[in-house]
């Protein structure tokens, strides 16, 4: 599939999003949307508000105001667990694996609405036994898919940084989400694993889900995104294909700093 995802409409649409910390306006986004079935990259220099926007959209942080819909459902202000159940799942920049559980247990924990969680159903072993087996099978299958099958019984704490990122991706997929939001999926991942991770992200899209990811490595962004949204100082400043966005003078200014005051501060040729 290509950048032509626009024909499918938006799976996530946000309007008037704002979040301030004291006097610092971290997010002030007029409108933001992610096209269904696309891989959309969210880029921007440090402090642009990308992670805060992620946090707000997924209910990990409250918005000062703003409305957003997921799959045409108003999910504004929903708590994180409800948003996740609705099919919009995120990962974290710093992987949040439970170190003292095995890799497979980490996967199983991510499955939702497990009957055994309730008191009475828990008493009826027959009710949840099948389900447990199904969840385990799904976990094993996904571990194989992300390339962690060999590590299934290792403590998650023993995984490398890159492997933890893969585990995060696997866990996020346990619930068959329709939108997967990845916060810097390749940060700290070695080049060989990065390739594998990108490949997996592509196939998540090819199987029908939508991917929104925050990324700093512009070559990664260029290689897998259908659309790119660039934020700076809390706002969206550019949107389009990767090539369009990186050629946008506003984006270049955001990354390299504006040139104002150039005349006032001449560069001298050397120390006097």
């Amino acid at each position: 599939m290509s950048a032509d995802a626009t024909t499918n409409g938006a799976i996530l649409q946000a309007r008037g999003m704002r979040r301030a910390f004291g006097g610092l306006v971290a997010v002030d986004v007029e409108s933001f949307s992610v096209m269904r079935g696309s891989i959309t990259a969210l880029i921007g220099p440090n402090g642009a508000g990308k992670t805060t926007l992620f946090n707000v959209l997924t209910g990990f942080e409250r918005a000062d105001h703003g409305e957003w819909t997921f799959d045409d459902r108003d999910v504004s202000g929903w708590p994180a667990y409800r948003i996740a159940r609705a099919g919009m799942v995120r990962t974290f920049q710093i992987p949040k694996a439970l170190a003292r559980m095995s890799v497979l247990e980490n996967m199983k924990l991510a499955a939702q609405t497990q009957r055994g969680e309730g008191f009475f159903p828990a008493l009826l072993r027959r009710l949840w036994c099948d389900e447990e087996a199904r969840i385990e099978a799904r976990g094993v299958e996904l571990l194989e898919w992300v390339g962690l099958a060999k590590q299934r019984d290792d403590y998650a704490g023993t995984l490398s940084g890159g492997q933890r990122k893969l585990l995060e991706l696997g866990r996020a997929l346990m619930t068959n989400p329709r939108l997967v939001m990845l916060d810097e999926p390749t940060a700290g991942v070695n080049p060989a694993l990065t390739e594998q991770l990108l490949d997996r992200i592509r196939s998540v899209r090819d199987e029908g889900a939508t991917v929104l990811f925050v990324e700093h490595d512009m070559d990664v962004v260029g290689s897998i995104s259908d659309r790119v949204i660039c934020m700076a100082q809390g706002s969206v400043i550019a949107e389009g294909t990767a090539a369009e966005v990186v050629a946008d003078p506003q984006v270049i200014d955001a990354y390299l700093g504006e040139r104002h005051g150039e005349a006032a501060m001449p560069t001298s040729e050397g120390p006097t």
């Binding site: 990186v246 990354y255 700093g257």
Partner: protein
């Protein structure tokens, strides 16, 4: 001195510095940097290029695994921070760079800790560069604005009369107007004779004021030239925005 030619009398020099926080993950993979007497040197590069790590390595805050650091022709690799200050190297970290619970004047006193007799002369010089700090000298440092706190951090480093001052992103987190001020006082203090190595996220502004710039990428030197040359070099944009941004 001409264009990108390296200065002849380096006051501080990094030669092939390899440094890491954790074994096996080298942040700097053979970095070189030279700053001459009175020179203003900028260090820029995309996220994770190793800019901050380079100044930390120069100041001995990150172990240098390979390569060396030289001060006026004498090797100082691995020297401790207080000895660095004694050797007239000043360092201003990016964050947590003032003692919040101490007054402004006590912060400055800490800057002259190794040589208390410098205090009077030092505070006079600081007052000239940052008059606002003297006005607020009896206030606690955590009551200062972000811009003033940055001034105080630099002022404290200046109290030890450094020959070279290492600044880690002095403009970070400040409004554009305050950033202008930062670049202006960096130029002023440099003009009075202090050599400066300035790490900056705001690449263009930094290149506008510095004599020479170093562009780092993934722990190595990508480009070195005068600030002016780098400012107009499309390769620098490409480094920040990837191969797609390649200038036609």
């Amino acid at each position: 001195m001409t264009a990108s030619e390296a200065p002849t009398v380096p006051v501080l020099e990094a030669r092939g510095v390899v440094a890491s926080y954790l074994p096996g993950v080298d942040i700097l993979r053979g970095c070189n940097l030279i700053v001459a007497e009175g020179e203003l040197v900028g260090v820029i590069g995309p996220n994770g290029a190793g800019k901050s790590t380079l100044v930390k390595a120069l100041f001995g805050l990150v172990p240098v695994r390979d390569g060396s650091v030289w001060l006026r022709g004498e090797e100082i690799t691995g020297q401790k921070g207080h000895d660095m200050v004694r050797s007239r190297i000043g360092y201003v970290p990016q964050t947590k760079n003032v003692f919040g619970t101490l007054t402004v004047v006590d912060n400055l006193r800490m800057g002259a800790y190794l040589e208390p007799e410098r205090f009077d002369a030092g505070i006079e010089a600081v007052g000239e560069l940052f008059p606002v700090l003297l006005e607020r000298r009896h206030e606690r440092a955590d009551r200062l604005s972000g811009g003033q706190r940055q001034m105080l951090a630099v002022a404290r480093a200046l109290m030890a009369e450094p020959a070279v001052l290492l600044l880690d992103e002095p403009s970070a987190g400040l409004s554009p107007a305050l950033q202008d001020e930062v670049f202006a006082w960096v130029q002023t203090l440099n003009a009075s004779g202090t050599a400066v190595v300035m790490v900056e996220q705001n690449a263009r502004r930094c290149l506008q004021v510095c004599h020479r710039g170093y562009v780092l990428d993934q722990g190595t030197n990508a480009y070195t030239a005068t600030g002016h040359e780098l400012l107009h070099d499309p390769k620098v944009i490409e480094l920040y925005l990837g191969a797609l941004a390649k200038a036609e």
